[in-house]
């Protein structure tokens, strides 16, 4: 077999393997994105994976070619040459162009991921509900100073405007997420555990923090990872384009039950969301009433 035949066979085999992977349920890219920032992450990933595979194949092909052509044979003399002046310049130029191109592309995509889009037409009119309250978290003014991992410029939900995003606090603890929704009375935020419920087509800004150790907020379909670090507030955003339930998990080791540190985002229609928050508020008020009743009874009884 000639060298060319072997090469063609290898390339075909590789191409066939890659094309056959979906048939076996193997995904070569990230989870299907359902938010503009996850879209940008996915497109960056695909460009980079092509470059990475091209580089890996190039290095290995060159190595194989060098081994096959220049392995030791009886009677062969090594051509003892070394690089002359400027022999490496083409390689240097090539690598420099590659690095600069990837850098420019990376900056553009980073900005793409960070740019917060306004809510869509089907989304919640955030004006009615968006309020960033103070509840165990830094005040709004502090939020404005915090640098965000994914948000670039701090996003403030405190200024009511037509397109103000829905700001939700996501607070991590060992091994549970607590979500505090806007609205409700001061000091009595509406909250839920484990599952975040958000309206579809609405820009949601998450103020991510932690109360004990470092965790990560990450729902792959809705964007990248952000660390939840105690004492800091990091921000991320997403705008879910489809109703559904998306799962995510923390990626930073946080102790014995680390595998259980998962999270879910349920995306519902706007009316359903309103209903959900109202129901939560009612439940919380009822619970508060029961508690205060019990406390009163306890105080009343000797």
């Amino acid at each position: 077999m000639s060298r060319r035949t072997i090469l063609i066979a290898l390339v075909t085999a590789l191409a066939l393997t890659l094309t056959a992977t979906p048939a076996f349920g193997i995904r070569l890219g990230p989870e299907e994105p359902h938010s503009p920032n996850a879209d940008a992450i996915e497109s960056t990933y695909w460009v980079m994976i092509v470059i990475v595979f091209a580089l890996i194949i190039a290095v290995n092909a060159a190595l194989i070619a060098a081994i096959v052509r220049f392995r030791h044979r009886r009677g062969r003399e090594a051509a003892r040459f070394a690089a002359g002046r400027g022999a490496l310049l083409p390689a240097i130029a090539g690598f420099a162009v590659l690095a600069i191109a990837i850098f420019v592309f990376g900056v553009i995509e980073t900005v793409n991921v960070r740019d917060v889009e306004p809510s869509g037409s089907d989304g919640l009119n955030a004006n009615q509900t968006a309020q960033v309250g103070v509840s165990g978290l830094p005040a709004t003014s502090a939020l404005e100073d915090t640098e965000s991992a994914e948000g670039g410029e701090p996003i403030s939900g405190s200024e009511p405007s037509e397109s103000a995003p829905l700001a939700i606090d996501a607070i991590a603890q060992q091994w549970l997420w607590r979500f505090e929704y806007p609205g409700g009375q001061p000091g009595q935020r509406t909250f839920s555990y484990g599952e975040l419920v958000v309206p579809v087509d609405t820009t949601v800004v998450l103020n991510v923090s932690a109360i004990d150790v470092v965790h990560t907020w990450w729902v792959p379909a809705l964007g990248g990872q952000v660390q939840a670090v105690p004492g800091e507030v990091t921000q991320t955003w997403f705008k879910a384009d489809e109703v559904g339930r998306y799962s995510g998990r923390s990626t930073v080791f946080s102790g014995t039950s680390f595998p259980a540190m998962r999270s879910w985002v349920r995306v519902v229609s706007v009316p359903e969301y309103r209903q959900y928050v109202e129901q939560l508020q009612r439940d919380l008020t009822n619970a508060q009433d029961i508690i205060s009743q019990a406390q009163q009874e306890e105080q009343g009884s000797p």
Binding site: E31, V59, H72, L88, G106, E232
Partner: protein
């Protein structure tokens, strides 16, 4: 009282007050400050810890072989997970390379020892003490704080056991040992080079040891400081990393990542140094561009360490810093790409002998290239947001650590084993082990990459069935077992060959070009009786060439004495011996025109040590 009768010696002799009785061999080996014996201690200890790290790795993969497995308790898994990475990187990969350097580099420099032998010895014992401190905690309470012991998880509140203290103290001791090694190595390289070994003529492995020594002097104290601050936080109510009291947990991430990134680069640079020695020897050709190789190693160390924030894209950082980190990380394409280009160009046109050492070096390049190309992908911020801390990025790091630390380390061991023991490291078994390692590492990393795309985080004790990663984890576990079998096979091979390997042919079985092959195998305590003059990066090649030239011209001594026709100097040889020293080429060629060259700069001088 009459003095005891003395017998007059037959010949003059100097008698000390008391002659030390010879000590037992093992005691001599353990307490001698000879760099060769210290180097052997390093190599032996690091290979022991490699076996230990593998055991832990295999146990973890047994736990992750099926979804929601409960074979190991989470506490046990977390202990393995806290011990295995530090064992693999800090207790085995780096010390294996350091051990080879401590043994080989003084020989390569034509030195009779190291500059600070006691410091060198202290460095080894600090490493050993640190390792014992970490593993002694298995007798009482084991650390459960994860790979890098990030606070607040490693605070007293969340990790009340003494195991975390042992982990901190042990890691700090080992790091201190690395710093001591580095100081000795820098002083040795600066002061004890044989005449003629300019920096640009230094063997690449010796240069790489200088680079990692400078790197260790910079990053080692940072890690020791971070660990000290963490310990102050734990036991003395410190607030360095205490959120809400003015401390910042992110600060520890910065400090520890500077060290971890540097440690990763140390493995890469050490392996690159060994590969750059092995390929030219077996391809019978000088390194394509020695100058570029030396420069690339230094640039990798500087840029790579500056890019530590490349690992922290998900942390709360100012966006400008992450972009700067991305720029530095992407700039690494240049030196790393040039190094690989240089290696391939070195083989090109040569006649590559495919011995076990060269196979290990070649597959080290191939495996590391997979990991380094992947690292390029993660350097782009959005990809980092998607894949950092997943098994995808972990597999990528493993490519470089297995490729550099294990394959590169074993390549060096295969290459210098005859020098250390006078015997060859078993070739057949070595190649078989390499096949298993290569299959194993790909069989482990590729499914782990796919599982990472599904979102499987690192360090997890369990994964759930609904994540659809059970097939990947099964295959990855099998890959891990194959990898472990391969490495264990090679460890057995090394242990067996030490006393029972085939005797090496002469003191220079490979036809090496650097000075360590001029010494006996194993070298005497003082290394060299005489050191040849060094006029290029390949002194032994020059000697062989000049002998060959003499033999060729021997048939007509009369004609040569007349010095009428200058011997046709092979242009290639002239270029080679001065590779990277274009400025000298003219003078050199002039002196090669015949025996009438400048005294001490011609052919005659080179033959003196041989005669």
């Amino acid at each position: 009282m009459t003095p005891p009768p003395t017998i007059a010696p037959a010949r003059p002799e100097i008698v000390t007050r008391r002659i030390k009785p010879p000590r037992q061999a093992w005691l001599e080996r353990a307490t001698s400050a000879d760099h060769k014996l210290v180097g052997l201690l390093y190599v032996g200890t690091s290979l022991t810890f490699l076996a230990l790290a593998l055991t832990e790795f295999v146990l973890m993969r047994v736990q992750l072989i099926a979804p929601e497995n409960t074979l190991l308790k989470p506490e046990i898994f977390d202990r393995l997970m806290s011990a295995a990475p530090v064992t693999f990187v800090v207790l085995s990969c780096i010390p294996l390379l350091i051990g080879l350097m401590v043994y080989v580099v003084p020989l390569q420099l034509g030195a009779r020892g190291v500059a600070l032998p006691r410091l060198n010895q202290l460095a080894y014992w600090l490493y050993a003490a640190g390792a014992v401190t970490i593993y002694a905690s298995f007798l009482y309470t084991v650390p459960e704080t994860g790979t890098a012991a990030l606070p607040p998880l490693s605070n007293l509140t969340f990790s009340p056991s003494n195991g975390a203290d042992a982990w901190i103290a042990g890691t700090a001791l080992v790091t201190l040992g690395f710093v001591c090694f580095a100081i000795n190595m820098i002083v040795t390289i600066r002061n004890l080079r044989a005449p003629g070994i300019a920096w640009r003529r230094m063997p690449v492995f010796a240069f790489s040891s200088a680079v990692i020594s400078w790197l260790m002097v910079v990053i080692g104290p940072i890690m020791i400081a971070a660990l000290t601050m963490l310990e102050i936080d734990r036991r003395f109510d410190g607030i360095f990393f205490e959120p809400g009291e003015g401390g910042a947990p992110v600060l520890y991430q910065h400090l520890s990542y500077i060290f971890l990134t540097g440690a990763y680069l140390t493995v890469f640079i050490g392996a690159a140094g060994a590969i750059s020695e092995i390929l030219p020897t077996f391809a019978r050709k000088p390194l394509f561009s020695r100058g570029a190789a030396l420069a690339c190693l230094a640039v990798v160390a500087v840029l790579g360490t500056l890019a530590w924030m490349q690992n922290m894209y998900t942390a709360p950082l100012n966006s400008g810093w992450t972009i700067a980190a991305m720029a530095v990380a992407l700039a690494l394409v240049l030196p790393i790409g040039l190094l690989i280009y240089n290696w391939i160009a070195t083989i090109w046109g040569g006649t590559l002998q495919l011995r076990a050492a060269s196979w290990y070096a070649l597959l080290a390049i191939s495996t590391m290239a997979c990991g380094l190309a992947g690292e390029l992908g993660y350097s782009v911020i959005p990809v980092g947001w998607a894949l950092d801390y997943t098994t995808a990025s972990q597999g990528d790091t493993l490519y470089v650590l297995v490729g550099g630390g294990v394959m590169g380390g074993f390549a060096g061991l295969h290459y210098w084993f005859p020098k250390m023991s006078g015997r060859l490291l078993g070739e057949g078994l070595g190649k078989a082990a390499l096949v298993l390692m290569t299959i194993g590492v790909h069989l482990y990393v590729i499914p782990m990459f796919l599982a990472g795309l599904e979102g499987q985080p690192v360090d997890t004790w369990q994964f759930y069935e609904d994540t659809g990663t059970d097939g990947y984890n099964l295959v990855a576990s099998i890959g891990a077992f194959v990898l472990a079998v391969g490495i264990l096979l090679q460890l057995t091979n090394a242990a067996r060959s030490w006393n029972h390997g085939l005797p090496a042919r002469g003191h220079d079985p490979w036809g090496g070009a650097t000075l360590e092959w001029f010494a006996l195998s194993p070298p005497p305590p003082h290394n060299f009786d005489a050191v040849p003059d060094v006029r290029s990066g390949e002194p032994l090649y020059d000697i062989r060439e000049s002998i060959a030239r003499r033999e060729r011209s021997f048939e007509a001594p009369a004609a040569r004495a007349l010095a009428a026709p200058p011997e046709p100097a092979e242009p290639t040889a002239a270029v080679i011996s001065e590779a990277g020293e274009t400025a000298d080429t003219g003078r050199r060629e002039a002196s090669e025109q015949g025996p009438g060259g400048t005294p001490g700069d011609g052919d005659d001088g080179e033959e003196r040590p041989v005669a």
